[in-house]
Subunit: 516 residues, 2 copies
């Protein structure tokens, strides 16, 4: 047997997965690290804690698998987008890794949106203007921590930092670079205007390489710890969104990947970079002729968790006592309510929202309440609202890349048959749930095999994934959803005028200490 | 001792109260009758069941009190507004009493609002255009049940029917007449245009009399049953809203009566009829120089009941097991949340709304949800939302009659200290809760004493009522409420554009049988 390792550096853990050349998982390690949220809107990680977790993960997998010499062909990386680390002259971190979830640059992102520069940059970088991007974070740091900013010799992301520590080489793949907001997707190079707006120069950034680029020559002490041949090729890999599409076999035109985990996303592959005139969707590089266009949403399964914890606390206890999954119990309650929740509409923006409205001040709402509505209606409306929101992202995507033909769906939501069927019914599309649980790591491994010539084409991934479930849309639900979605969309627009006001109120009057 | 009886003919029961001349309750009977709701939007009562209940109530009170001859000076009536009964040539009912809660004339009320005729009529009648009014019901019956309509010789309300049965005299007091939508408050007579729009003539209506008008000569068989001297004077009395103001001593300028029972109202007395250019408030006659301007709201305590029954069903059971009042338990939960519910705003329009938005399609909503909001926030937001709504009625009233100076508050809500304090805080006014539990019956008895010359002035009522509670506004809450009320109001306007759409959806897709 021959093998490939996919490493998925996520927000709360790194997943290290050993695959055989049939795409079967042969080893697995999940190594956690803390997310630091010392002040409001902060979301940082310690790059050295991540580095240790990666070493631990690889070590665990390698020791356990005990592979024959020469059978491990390579290691390929996925990493979360948008992280920023400031390094000094010696490549030592001056900051922690500021993650995508960090919102402290909100003021500067707003400015870019308002003064029109954001639109100019988006149209070249394919990266929506948002506090999550390194572009916004650089402006924020330059303005609010100038000493720190001026001390920095290098500006990198977590993957670049890890590669540097392993190989002593500072380079960045197009896909990760793409998501910084500093990379021009048409010239495939750092964008001069973006660099100027950020206040940095080209020579403060890593060298750009393709996602299929290989590196060898790992430092021998690390190789020794892990138990890996130091000549094993490492493939740069890409960022997690594009690799997730690959890992669920959503790389053919029209095949849409929908994820509802804690957050969510809708993404589709095109062969050329595409821009949304309204700036609602991103366009990120995966590999030559593969670009991923899509929208990330904050409010996925985390909203269902809120419904369970806050609106169904007593039932959650009941489920615990019954030793059944509390989400399953809630799903059963929701299933008793008809499609459309008897006209109760939920906007799921509990945590602000990225795509499609890109409004960090957005808030959740229930609309249409009558005395016949119960909490059971609320849980169903919440599940529907999460899907309506993803559907509006799909509608934005359609304007850019055309009609979808089918959906590959993943994430924790897929444990609920009701929720999967809702996705099919609201999108009016066939929905397939792939069997492989670690799509992003599989995407990384597949890209690695492609880079090494072990497969001819990325579409080989279809042989790697099984099918867990298939759902066809139920036409009986169409009248309800077709009537409610337009109301949902018009309301989103109506409510937008008050999001800033209520968010300002909450920032001013809600005591920080009360925040959970 | 000398005595007076106040009879309050309500929507679900008649309350018969015996007062001494110090305004102290000396006897009481509450006699129920059913509300018929055979089809959606119907709300009817059987006039003869009401008549029997009144006879039963008076009999109970008289037999129990066993008064000395000549000490009962009179009986005075309050009745719910807007009821309509069709009578034949022999004064026999052709219909049940169609109550204020009946919404079947909605189409015709909408038409009046839309074609501008409604506004013309409102400006003369002081009665908002709404399906509740006899005006709307007459148009509805003429169009949808022409045979029945044409058979009718007389169009009366419940009080006129009762008086006719007791005395053989068909007459209607200005106050009840005022609320039909057919009465011109400036000419103090039926309005020709309104009669024409309704499609009836002046001679199909009872004779108009003042609210202080006396009748004697009760049919002796009824007098015998009740045990009352047939020469006892009966005072016509007024409708329940105006008499409630009197009964809580809210008759001086600036003193506002706020009621939160199942529904709610905000009302204030002026010395001249006043009209709201925006048509949001009613103006009803009480007595010479006393007009009551105000707004009725559908969504009072019934919304708190919904929160309890639907959102807090488990806690309701807990309260039952603890043998404590479930509303008290919920109030305690709400009290733990800061004023302003951490920026969660609730529009209480679960049952459509009358004042101030007059939109039967209005629906409830929660706005501003974040992941830190819990059900405890929802219950507090609901209590606050009910008060915000009443406050917006107050703002409309202010435009018509000027700033309030203090509040007299009544209704089931007054059992909650938290809710009473909220009223003081949101209105920024001192709130007094009178001790007398049956304000409307006391108002009727007071008007009766005034009519009989037993008191010189209606303001004598102040000696009749005690004070149960006083609340002063707490300035610490002002910043929260002053920030949120404007958002609440702007949202009301924003959401209005979708009320009809969601209500149409609910009418079309929610199965009638599912309605509770
Ligand atoms: N302990 C309590 N705390 C708070 N609110 C209460 C309490 N008890 C009752 N209520 C509220 O009072 C409402 C009932 O009010 P009330 O008893 O005045 O009703 P009603 O006479 O049917 O009303 P209406 O006068 O509108 O017909 C309930 O729906 C509830 O909201
Ligand atoms: N049995 C279930 N039924 C429905 N939804 C579920 C179930 N279990 C988990 N979920 C949803 O999945 C979410 C977690 O998704 P997951 O993909 O595991 O998270 P992450 O994005 O953090 O990797 C939960 O917040 C919940 O909404």
């Amino acid at each position: 047997m021959d093998y490939m390792i996919g490493v998925d550096i996520g927000t709360t853990s790194v997943k290290t997965v050993l695959y055989d050349t049939a795409g079967k998982m042969q080893g697995y390690s999940n190594n956690l690290y803390p997310l630091y949220q010392d002040v409001p809107d902060m979301a940082e990680e310690d790059p050295d804690e991540i580095f240790s977790a990666i070493i631990d993960g690889m070590t665990t997998v390698m020791r356990k698998a005990d592979l024959k010499n020469g059978t491990l062909h390579g290691v390929s990386f996925s990493a979360a987008m948008h992280s920023l680390i400031l390094l000094d002259d010696d490549h030592k971190p001056l900051t922690r890794a500021i993650t995508w979830a960090d919102n402290r640059a909100v003021k500067y992102a707003d400015e870019l949106r308002e003064n029109g520069v954001g639109k100019q940059l988006y149209e070249k970088t394919g990266t929506p203007i948002h506090p999550m991007t390194p572009l916004s974070k650089l402006i924020w740091l330059r303005n609010e921590q100038p000493d720190l900013f001026n001390q920095a010799r290098w500006f990198v992301g977590i993957k670049e930092y890890v590669i540097y520590k392993l190989f002593g080489v500072l380079q960045e793949d197009y896909s990760i670079a793409n998501a910084t907001g500093l990379f021009n997707i048409f010239s495939m190079d750092w964008d001069d205007q973006a660099l100027e707006v950020a206040g940095i120069t080209r020579d403060q950034l890593p060298k750009l390489v393709d996602t299929t680029d290989q590196i060898t020559g790992m430092k021998t002490d690390y190789a020794g710890v892990i138990g890996i041949d130091p000549q094993t090729p490492f493939i740069m890999g890409a960022s997690d969104g594009p690799l997730a599409n690959l890992g669920v076999n959503a790389i053919d035109p029209g095949v849409v990947a929908v994820t509802i985990g804690t957050s969510g996303a809708v993404r589709v592959v095109t062969d050329k970079p595409k821009i949304d005139p309204k700036g609602r969707v991103f366009c990120y590089y995966l590999s030559k002729d593969h670009w991923v266009v899509g929208g990330p949403v904050n409010n996925g399964g985390i909203v269902f968790r809120w419904v369970r914890d806050q609106l169904f606390a007593p039932e959650k206890l009941t489920a615990e006592q019954m030793q059944i999954d509390s989400y399953d119990l809630l799903t059963e309650i929701a299933a008793k309510i008809p499609a459309g929740s008897d006209g109760l509409i939920f906007h799921p923006f509990l945590g602000g929202e990225r795509a499609p409205i890109w409004d960090a001040n957005a808030r959740g709402s229930f609309f249409g309440l009558t005395r016949t509505h119960s909490r059971a209606h609320m849980v169903r409306a919440a599940l529907e609202g999460i899907v309506y929101n993803l559907y509006t992202v799909m509608l934005a995507l359609e304007e850019v890349v055309g009609k979808p033909s089918s959906i590959q769906a993943t994430g924790g939501f897929a444990r609920s048959a009701l929720w999967r069927q809702m996705l099919a019914d609201i999108f009016e599309q066939d929905v397939t749930i792939p069997e492989s649980p670690e799509g992003t790591a599989l995407g990384a491994a597949t890209l690695g095999m492609y880079a090494l010539g072990m497969i001819d084409d990325l579409s080989a991934v279809k042989n790697f994934i099984g099918v867990a479930n298939v759902h066809h849309p139920n036409p009986e639900t169409f009248p309800a959803y077709r009537a409610l979605v337009p109301i949902y969309i018009r309301l989103s627009r109506q409510l937008q005028s008050e999001y800033k006001n209520i968010a300002d109120y909450q920032r001013k009057y809600v005591h920080k200490s009360d925040k959970k």
